[in-house]
């Protein structure tokens, strides 16, 4: 009797599970999803660690955490090839990690040390890696957008088939130079993908208080640039939209605008108490649409990982971040003389 009851309860569940598993299998593979999961987790844990170091006074000044938006950069990274290029604003730690830059070098730049990617001269907002074709890290809102189009111009000129991903925020999307870049990018069919990370706030100002057209993917319409709204909390949806846009860009069809609907969980920067929105709003997004939890559910549904295996993975990711944190404290400050180098080429 009791056996029978258990069967009756279990059967529809198994059926449901099977449907879910198949849905996941249609969209991705085990190795791919595990990699996305790990990459997103690395960003999350890295940012949490950076937040801790900030709280301990080891990181000073500005520090803009990417927590909540991980699926955007990880999904887009899944859409490009080695040698493609990335440029973004100041909320850049996630982009750098997704590009494969070393967490140690990133963290050491946050602490302003010699082994940071900019030898301590740049800080959180200003880091670069020629090796990984990462072009920064820009503190001036919107400045990176025409620069990203310029990267694309050079790629087309060199006929090297490279695409540049140009990221900016919903707030940056109002800067005039963004539209100058849109026009030129479409006019010259440049291989660039414009990615608007719409996390719904520009500092303390919500999109609707600053934008007459809140559907930011439509912002290219008058330049004949196609735009798409994407669930930026779903790494696979991001990857898919990214692949379409990158494909078009690479074969000379010009730019696409991808509006990633996403959310930042933390304040604008570490010093922002985020009084312009409610706790409930933040909590609601975390509970309903967290990108990492979403990937985890897919992994479990497809039976590609067990809870225990994911816990192990989390441990190893945390260890990487801990190591980066230690490194960023052990690395010495740059020599003061270093401050006077790299202003111009040395004579």
């Amino acid at each position: 009797m009791s056996d029978k009851k258990a069967d009756a309860v279990e059967e529809p569940n198994t059926g449901q599970q099977k449907v879910e598993a198949e849905a996941v299998e249609r969209r991705t593979s085990k190795s791919e999803l595990l990699k996305y999961y790990e990459d997103m987790l690395l960003i999350r844990r890295f940012e949490e660690k950076a937040g801790q170091l900030y709280g301990m006074g080891l990181i000073a000044g500005f520090c803009h955490l990417y927590i909540g938006q991980e699926a955007v950069v990880v999904g887009m990274q899944g859409a490009i090839e080695e040698g493609d290029q990335v440029i973004t604003g100041y909320r850049d730690h996630g982009h750098m990690l997704a590009c494969g830059m070393d967490p140690k070098g990133v963290m050491a730049e946050l602490t302003g040390r010699k082994d940071g990617y900019s030898k301590g001269k740049g800080g959180s907002m200003h880091m670069f890696s020629r090796d990984k074709q990462f072009f920064g890290g820009h503190g001036i809102v919107g400045a990176q957008v025409p620069i990203g189009a310029g990267l694309a111009f050079a790629n087309r000129y060199k006929e090297n088939d490279r695409v540049s991903l140009t990221y900016f925020g919903d707030g940056a999307a109002n800067q005039g130079q963004v539209y100058e870049a849109f026009n030129m990018a479409e006019l010259w069919a440049l291989p660039v993908v414009f990615i608007i990370e719409n996390n719904q706030y520009a500092m303390g100002t919500s999109v609707k208080r600053a934008s007459s057209e809140v559907h930011l993917h439509k912002r290219g319409a008058s330049f004949a640039i196609p735009g798409e709204e994407v669930d930026g909390m779903d790494v696979l949806a991001v990857r898919d939209a990214g692949r379409r846009a990158v494909y078009d860009a690479r074969r000379g069809e010009g730019p696409t605008i991808l509006e990633m609907k996403t959310y930042r969980y933390r304040g604008h920067s570490m010093s922002d108490p985020a009084k312009y929105r409610t706790r409930e709003e933040v909590q609601g997004v975390r509970e309903k649409s967290d990108p990492i939890e979403h990937a985890k559910r897919m992994l479990l549904a497809a039976d590609w990982a067990s809870e225990d295996e994911l816990k192990e993975l989390d441990k190893s990711v945390k260890a990487v971040c801990q190591e980066a944190a230690q490194f960023s404290q052990d690395s010495p400050e740059p020599d003061p003389e270093e401050l006077y180098t790299d202003v111009l080429a040395e004579a």
Binding site: F62, Y90, K121, H126, A202, S211, L339, Y340
Partner: protein
């Protein structure tokens, strides 16, 4: 008189301006609903409504230019550029339009726009959040440039700027917002409540633009400073025991040439200070004018103590910042020269 921080006294000034003249509006990024990232406009949208205190999108070019359009057409706008480092998208509008409208229209039109903007380092902001770009603006004929060093002056000068019929770029040293800062980052922060210029009268009053102030009388050397460097100068004088006369310039365009030259003629020595890089900084203008006017009274070359000719670094902020040790060394050097 109530003690106020500089944030509070600026808030009080904008409040007075809004209350006193319905042509005054205040706007900028995060200025309305949020009350400004440093809180300078806090509470004013609630008090004066969305039409008079409002948020702008992140559009420095249009903030400057729309402010000019409003001003030319009869309003008295107070625009905020969130950090001075962000003003450059609007720089073209300042240079090519705002500064020239009076000249270009032979005085038919003027643009009484005030652009408030926090400047300077000392908060580990790195290269895009620490600049002191005043010299870019002092080089433009047709705009006034001001930078207060304390809450009392901040309120009076801001009200004078709003009354002024010409455009004023109003720099607010952010390191002074919540307390005086003498350049030693290792000392505990002090509060404006214990500073004589933290006393701010209620109601409207003005501190005229173009007039400096001798904040520390002395006989041996004249130190010309503005903004945060005024406090550094006082501290350096105290530490070295050099009997320095410290002048707070307060306004850079037009600057108080008479006050400075009278002092230099008296002391025979002069050191000029600013946080901005040295080359083509405002100190170059000061030094040049001082030697023209005071050459025969000078006992030593006019010295400059400034930021380095590099972007503001993230690491070693205090090596870049021209703190009391560097100023003190210059005081001693000029005494020997």
């Amino acid at each position: 008189m109530p003690a106020m921080t500089m944030v509070q006294s600026l808030n009080a000034a904008i409040d007075e301006a809004l209350a006193g003249n319905d042509k005054v509006v205040a706007f900028g990024e995060d200025v309305g609903y949020f009350g400004g990232v440093f809180g300078v406009t806090r509470g004013l949208q609630e008090k004066y409504g969305l039409d008079r205190v409002f948020d702008a999108p992140i559009n420095e070019a249009a903030i400057v230019a729309m402010g000019m359009g409003m001003a030319v057409n009869g309003l008295r706008p107070i625009a905020e550029i969130q950090f001075a480092d962000y003003i450059f998208p609007g720089f073209d509008q300042v240079v090519s339009e705002l500064s020239r409208i009076r000249y270009r229209s032979a005085g038919q039109y003027t643009a009484p726009l005030v652009i408030r903007t926090p400047c300077g380092g000392g908060i580990y902001g790195g290269q895009t959040h620490s600049m002191s770009p005043e010299a870019f603006f002092t080089h433009i004929p047709g705009v006034k440039v001001a930078m207060p060093s304390n809450p009392y002056d901040a309120k009076g000068m801001l009200l004078a700027a709003v009354e002024d019929d010409d455009p004023v770029i109003f720099f607010e040293p952010k390191r002074l917002y919540n307390g005086p800062f003498d350049g030693d980052p290792h000392k505990p922060a002090t509060s404006w409540a214990r500073h004589p210029r933290g006393e701010v009268p209620e109601g409207a009053y003005t501190v005229p633009l173009g007039v400096g102030e001798i904040v520390r009388p002395g006989s041996e050397v004249t130190v010309v400073a503005y903004g945060t460097m005024v406090h550094v100068a006082n501290y350096a004088a105290e530490k070295t025991g050099v009997d320095a006369e410290v002048i707070d310039l307060r306004t850079l365009v037009p600057w108080d040439v008479d006050m400075v030259t009278a002092s230099v003629k008296k002391t025979g020595r002069c050191v000029v200070l600013h946080e901005a890089p040295r080359t083509s900084g405002f100190g170059a203008e000061l030094a040049a004018q001082i030697q023209e006017d005071c050459f025969y009274s000078l006992e030593a070359p006019v010295l400059r103590v400034t930021g380095w000719d590099t972007p503001y670094p993230h690491a070693h902020e205090w090596s870049y910042f021209p703190g009391p040790d560097r100023v003190g060394r210059a005081l001693k050097q000029v005494m020997e020269g």
